[in-house]
């Protein structure tokens, strides 16, 4: 396997200073060939996820964050196609794997939990059955042993009365419980990487808090890396170590969580952070507004894709696409006007 350096993109091996990442995505491009044209759902995405670390992938709907996760699992169905890039899991390029090899990876080394716990469980099987299946697909164990491990797993995700709950059907459980079952299923084979795609969006705040607490606990137990995909900035701030902000199928900013929230450099990140009301925010303060609409992935704007909505955009932004570059040690951003690690936005430092 040779590592190819595509022009115009930054390899995360160069930029990641903290050792080699466990999961690394390089210049990933996933396009959907629809009747209306080519939807560039993920367009040159790169990030690295270190062992035991949590990376938050933040963006609005349609920015490509979910498609990028499905690409990592190689679960892109027609008319979608991974056009270019590398996905390295501990040095193994998943895009070069055959489908049987990939099946070994899915659910075993990389697992995924989804937003909708209602639809991700099969309603006609008991939850025990479904977790057992996840175990027995990858490990050669007897039914008895698989069942014991299933019960242990259910206990692990803190569902009380595991011995009886194991024989219940999904519809007998609440949304929060189902998400716990999903987590039990995902972690059944002790994966190295867990991709959590909006895991709490469908849940209430108090349940969300329970689930996030559980995930944090399991992460340290299992020593796994988590890729947390969400639109909720609060969630990212609380649980992730690194944050990558996506806009229009690309990463526009990537740095440590503390750094990002203290000094967002990209105008989009800055806009996002100041446009959500936070608890205890004075009411006289007007919310910042990012004008306009999220662009249509069929027709992205030329140059910098954020330029039609950007308050500091100039002529150059319309023509020249900014590259994701290290603007400050450990802080990457894709904007022409970040100089000496200073944001082009006024009063960006919080």
């Amino acid at each position: 396997m040779h590592v190819k350096e595509s022009a115009g993109t930054v390899s995360m091996t160069q930029v990641q200073n903290a050792g080699s990442p466990h999961l690394e995505v390089r210049n990933l491009k996933t396009y959907f060939y629809t009747e209306d044209g080519v939807v560039r759902a993920v367009d040159g995405l790169s990030y690295g996820l270190a062992k035991g670390e949590t990376l938050g992938l933040v963006g609005e709907s349609g920015c490509g964050k979910s498609v990028s996760a499905l690409s990592v699992m190689r679960l892109i169905a027609s008319p979608g196609k991974i056009v270019e890039g590398e996905i390295l899991l501990d040095g193994l390029d998943l895009l070069q794997c055959s489908e049987p090899e990939m099946r070994e990876v899915r659910g075993n080394r990389i697992s995924m939990i989804f937003q909708e716990p209602m639809t991700s469980l099969n309603p006609v099987f008991t939850i025990g059955n479904q977790i057992m299946e996840a175990i027995r697909v990858h490990q050669d164990v007897s039914r008895k042993e698989a069942r014991d491990r299933t019960i242990a797993m259910i206990r692990r995700v803190k569902i009380s009365a595991a011995e009886t709950r194991v024989d219940e059907y999904p519809h007998q459980m609440s949304g929060g419980m189902r998400q716990r079952v999903m987590i039990a299923m995902a972690l059944a084979c002790n994966p190295e990487v867990l991709i959590a795609d909006e895991p709490t969006t469908a849940l209430d705040v108090t349940i969300q808090a329970q689930i996030m607490e559980l995930l944090a606990e399991l992460q340290s137990d299992f020593q796994m890396s988590i890729l947390l995909i969400t639109h909720n900035l609060g969630l990212v701030a609380e649980v992730s170590d690194q944050v990558a902000v996506m806009y229009a199928s690309k990463v526009v900013e990537h740095t440590s969580t503390a750094e990002l929230f203290a000094s967002p450099l990209h105008p989009y990140t800055h806009g996002l952070l100041t446009s959500v009301p936070t608890l205890g925010m004075p009411r006289e303060q007007k919310l910042n507004v990012i004008p306009g609409q999220v662009p249509n992935p069929l027709h992205f704007p030329t140059g910098c894709r954020f330029h039609p909505r950007c308050p500091v955009a100039e002529q150059r932004c319309k023509q020249e696409e900014p590259l994701l570059r290290e603007v400050k040690p450990g802080h990457w951003a894709a904007c022409h006007f970040i100089e000496n690690g200073k944001s082009p936005m006024k009063g960006a430092d919080r």
């Binding site: 108090t206 996002l272 205890g280």
Partner: protein
């Protein structure tokens, strides 16, 4: 800010002991097997130009309250007085006339607009129903309202599917606004929108409120949005209000253990403020069979014996109302008798 002003102004909407029970039918003869007590005896009032936030988790009955207030659902019991008139017993014709003053904005910008009607027809419908102006004047009013809501008046001939979520929500707001109502129920108006679009809509709602002295019943599950927009906030749990107070007071000094837990569960987008959480155990019980006594006792970290048996009564501490035995004991110093 406007709290001071609104204290003196008239009460626009008064809800008294509102109850909404939905029968669960079973069997061949559809006998009523049980009732879902979606809303169970709640009271509040909203003054002209005031925003009352209504927060709670899914299934707590907040949307039902919003619909009952407008009598889109007829309440099982209780009274809804709008400008002194009891809506729950108003004849159809009078009710229709009242609707000019009270409107609603919905959560889902995709299902709230009739896909077969143009934007102009959607917004102008209210004018046609209430016979305001002639054709020309109506078209003028529609264009005017579109502009107020930050939309291009040239959009009148387009269909809803041509717009993005944020723009559709603006159309929904324009529809509610075109009759110049005094009161609008905002039912989760921003929760279906993208983060960068949410603030556009929130700012628009705040601006319209100030310009036209609108009163809102702002229903949402996002506590930070509710804090930002509301003058007063009511917290609901399983069909009951557990706490009601001025927005700043409630968020700074939450008394009810549920409010406290709710506030501590909200993730804050500031990594330097990672805080200690009060995690609530378990799930919200079913409103079909709510717990006895205080409905929160099954998940409450402070629950004492009496909570299981007796429903807590209203405790009013200088306008800060709370329904909790433990708080009552702490404040009044006396143990409530069962």
């Amino acid at each position: 800010m406007s709290t001071e002003a609104s204290k003196n102004s008239e009460v626009l909407l008064r809800v008294e002991h509102l109850k909404n029970y939905f029968p669960v039918r079973q069997g061949l003869l559809s006998r009523v097997a049980a009732y879902v007590k979606a809303v169970d005896d709640i009271s509040f009032e909203i003054k002209a130009g005031e925003t009352l936030g209504l927060v709670g988790e899914s299934g707590c009955g907040k949307t039902t309250v919003g619909h009952s207030v407008l009598r889109l659902i007829t309440p099982t019991e209780g009274r809804v007085l709008f400008q002194g008139k009891d809506l729950s017993h108003l004849p159809a014709a009078e009710l229709r006339a009242m609707r000019q003053d009270m409107q609603i904005i919905f959560q889902d910008p995709f299902s709230s607009l009739n896909p077969r009607m143009t934007v102009g027809a959607i917004i102008g419908e209210a004018l046609a129903i209430h016979g305001r102006g002639d054709r020309k004047e109506r078209a003028e009013m529609v264009r005017d309202t579109l502009q107020k809501c930050g939309l291009d008046p040239a959009y009148v001939n387009r269909f809803p599917h041509e717009f993005s979520g944020g723009q559709r929500q603006r159309i929904g707001i324009a529809r509610a606004l075109v009759l110049n109502p005094k009161f609008i129920v905002c039912d989760e108006p921003v929760s279906a929108l993208d983060v960068s679009i949410q603030s556009q809509i929130i700012n628009l709602l705040v601006e319209l409120k100030e310009r036209y002295n609108l009163a809102y019943l702002f229903i949402a599950h996002d506590l930070s949005v509710v804090e930002y927009i509301s003058d007063r906030v009511a917290v609901m749990y399983l069909g009951k209000i557990v706490e009601l107070a001025d927005s700043t007071e409630l968020y700074r000094n939450p008394l009810h253990p549920y409010t406290q837990a709710l506030l501590s569960a909200v993730p804050v987008p500031d990594p330097t403020r990672r805080k200690q959480r009060t995690l609530l155990p378990g799930d919200v019980p079913s409103p079909l069979n709510p717990p006895s006594g205080c409905r929160f006792h099954t998940r409450c970290p402070l629950a004492i014996d009496i909570c299981k048996k007796v429903e807590p009564r209203e405790l009013d501490v200088e306008g800060h109302k709370v329904w909790c035995h433990v708080v009552e004991e702490q404040i009044t110093g006396s143990r409530p008798s069962s």
